[in-house]
């Protein structure tokens, strides 16, 4: 029975992917762009959630890795003569490397202090990018990045986003479900006990940080393909907070929660701002309500209800 239930779950997933594949056939260009943004923000938020929800690490400045990945590919494409695919690889790798360096520095600290040191290191990176006009374009950023022809059309960019997102999500899902993922969650729940039974806590957390940084870089790379531009605000602290919001809104104990949160935030920004300029007000109020009434996020709440239903269902049968 369990096997069949599992298959059924996958069928839903296949249907979802098939619908996403068919979208460009009937949706206008604007919506295709919007869904690309949702997918890549969702990818970014999910990568954060590896260390935040599953690792219990206060990754307060995740946007830095996203921004650095984007700048990595942008700089390779504009400043060097390397073939473009090298940029697509280098971007995420730079993010992973930065994540390793920052992780090595921050990992000695825990919780709030970890987050604070990360904010200061991240702000340092932001300040350099913001001011280094000759190399990063300073506060203007870099526009009109020459991406490969195949990806220039909106549909090309969309399918690229979809494929990369699905592959990355699948990989991250596998990582979470792997023994490594379980150990990471064990460390989140009880670091002292994990240490006692012989787990190298710091090493596991560091690996988690590098993985999260890598996939944030992948999201940054996808953004360059979708938007053809990079700018320093991509790695400003408030954007990091926005990504944290996505995790919280969707639910950081559910794998797909951050993706849902990203969809909510992007949709809100797009549709509420057609009615009013005060979309941040609406988002803020929604967040306050979520924190008060749904501390596990929207998806966490839905899962809870389903669980409760199935439990009461089985007791009735039993």
């Amino acid at each position: 029975m369990a096997g069949r239930a599992g298959q059924k779950k996958y069928i839903n997933l296949y249907i979802a992917i098939a619908i996403l594949l068919l979208f460009p056939l009937f949706l206008p260009r604007f919506y295709i762009y919007l869904i690309s943004i949702i997918l890549l923000y969702g990818l970014l938020a999910t990568s954060l959630n590896i260390v935040l929800g599953y690792g219990g690490i206060f990754q307060f400045h995740h946007a830095v890795f996203y921004g650095v990945g984007a700048y990595g590919i942008a700089l390779v494409l504009t400043k060097t003569g390397f073939p473009p695919w090298i940029g697509f690889i280098i971007g995420p790798l730079i993010s992973a490397a930065l994540s390793l360096i920052m992780g090595l520095i921050c990992i000695r600290l825990s919780k709030l202090y970890f987050g604070m040191l990360q904010i200061s290191l991240g702000s340092l990176v932001w300040a350099i990018v913001y001011r280094w006009y000759s190399f990063t374009g300073g506060d203007d950023g870099i526009h009109g990045i020459p991406i490969p022809e195949l990806l220039q059309s909106p549909n090309g960019a969309y399918y690229f986003t979809l494929i990369i997102t699905v592959i990355s999500m699948w990989l991250m899902y596998k990582i979470i479900k792997s023994p490594f993922g379980s150990v990471l969650q064990g460390i989140r729940d009880n670091p002292v006990r994990s240490e006692m039974i012989g787990v190298n806590v710091k090493k596991h957390q560091l690996l988690g940080l590098v993985i999260a940084g890598f996939f944030a870089g992948v999201a940054g790379m996808v953004f360059v393909v979708v938007d053809n531009t990079v700018f320093p605000d991509m790695m400003f602290w408030t954007f990091s907070l926005e990504v944290l919001i996505m995790c919280l809104l969707g639910g950081w104990f559910s794998f797909l929660g951050p993706m849902l949160g990203a969809a909510v935030v992007v949709a809100l920004r797009t549709f509420v701002s057609t009615f009013t300029v005060y979309w941040a007000l609406v988002l803020g109020i929604i967040m306050i309500l979520v924190i008060f009434f749904l501390p596990n996020g929207i998806l966490g709440y839905v899962e809870e209800i389903i669980k409760r239903r199935s439990q009461t269902g089985s007791t009735i049968k039993g």
Binding site: I105, S120, L124, W237, L241, L283, G284, F292
Partner: protein, 299 residues
């Protein structure tokens, strides 16, 4: 005076003074945050918004009196009180129900509140730049050490800073509420157990902390253009200052503000293009050697 200049060039000296007046603003705002962090343990992102609201309120009061001197002085009193009122509503209406939540939740809650505040400011004051006139008394320059021109208003800030520090010291060490709040910072359950209404202590401390944010905003308003988004950079700076000072330690906030203000102003002198990276680099260096801050944290 030639003696001073033989040690230190006038340019460096004036940059140091500029840095010190920046330190005053940073100290006033971060001491408020540190107070809240130490007693309530809330990493309050909305603190920056309250600073911004303070600056806008100062604009309104000053504007109401046609930019006259009396308007400035009333703004200096009225804006912090207005901010205190706003924070009282936020604390009693929202935060008091969530003290037991973990820090990440509180961080995001206060961020949500700061989004709301940001848009409320846009609704009330609009998106245009505002400027607050420097009062007549403080216009122009004074000549320090004989011939070093220095803005009068900044001199005023240099006087205000120590005053605020002294008042704060008196409140924390000599008043009953200060003593209770220090006790609550160490062991809030015990304070409750001896029959003190901890919830109200927290409320009062929160309001005092926010009042300081409003005061910082009011003081800074004549020197900058008051604009939306002035909270964003300040909140990062404030967070870093209280971290390098030691979370919850007011004197740590003073030390952190000094480090931040001076590296900022001298950094611009050393390497104009990358001046803004110096404070962040200083913070990283401090945290590498003293991971939990320079002074003892109350946590």
């Amino acid at each position: 005076m030639d003696f001073i200049y033989s040690i230190i060039s006038p340019q460096v000296l004036s940059q140091i003074l500029v840095g010190l007046s920046r330190t005053v603003i940073l100290f006033i705002v971060s001491s408020g945050m540190s107070l809240i962090l130490g007693v309530l343990r809330i990493p309050n992102v909305a603190h920056g918004s309250l600073y911004m609201i303070g600056a806008y309120m100062a604009f309104s009061v000053s504007h109401f009196f046609g930019g006259s001197d009396i308007g400035f002085w009333l703004a200096l009193i009225g804006a912090p009180l207005g901010v205190a009122l706003v924070s009282l509503v936020a604390e009693r209406g929202l935060f008091q129900y969530l003290y037991e939540r973990e820090h990440l939740m509180l961080l995001l809650l206060t961020f949500a509140v700061s989004l709301v505040f940001g848009d409320l400011v846009k609704i009330v004051w609009g998106a245009a730049y505002k400027s607050v006139p420097v009062p007549q008394v403080f216009q122009g320059f004074v000549l320090l050490f004989g011939n070093l021109p220095f803005p009068r208003y900044n001199t005023f800030l240099l006087v205000i800073g120590p005053l605020v520090a002294i008042v704060l010291w008196l409140i924390v060490n000599k008043t009953k509420i200060g003593k209770i709040s220090r006790a609550a910072a160490v062991d809030r359950e015990m304070v409750g157990a001896v029959g003190i209404n901890v919830s109200w202590v927290f409320g009062i401390v929160f309001v005092i902390g926010c009042l300081l944010a409003g005061l910082g905003g009011a003081l800074v308003s004549p020197t900058v253009s008051v604009t939306l988004g002035m909270d964003h950079t300040l909140i990062i700076e404030t967070f870093l200052i209280v971290t390098i000072g030691g979370l919850g330690n007011i004197w740590g906030a003073l030390l952190g503000a000094l480090i931040f203000g001076l590296t900022q102003s001298l950094g611009i002198l050393i390497w104009p293009q990358f001046g803004i990276i110096f404070p962040y680099a200083a913070v990283v260096v401090v945290l590498l050697f003293r991971p939990t801050g320079l002074l003892k944290s109350t946590w």
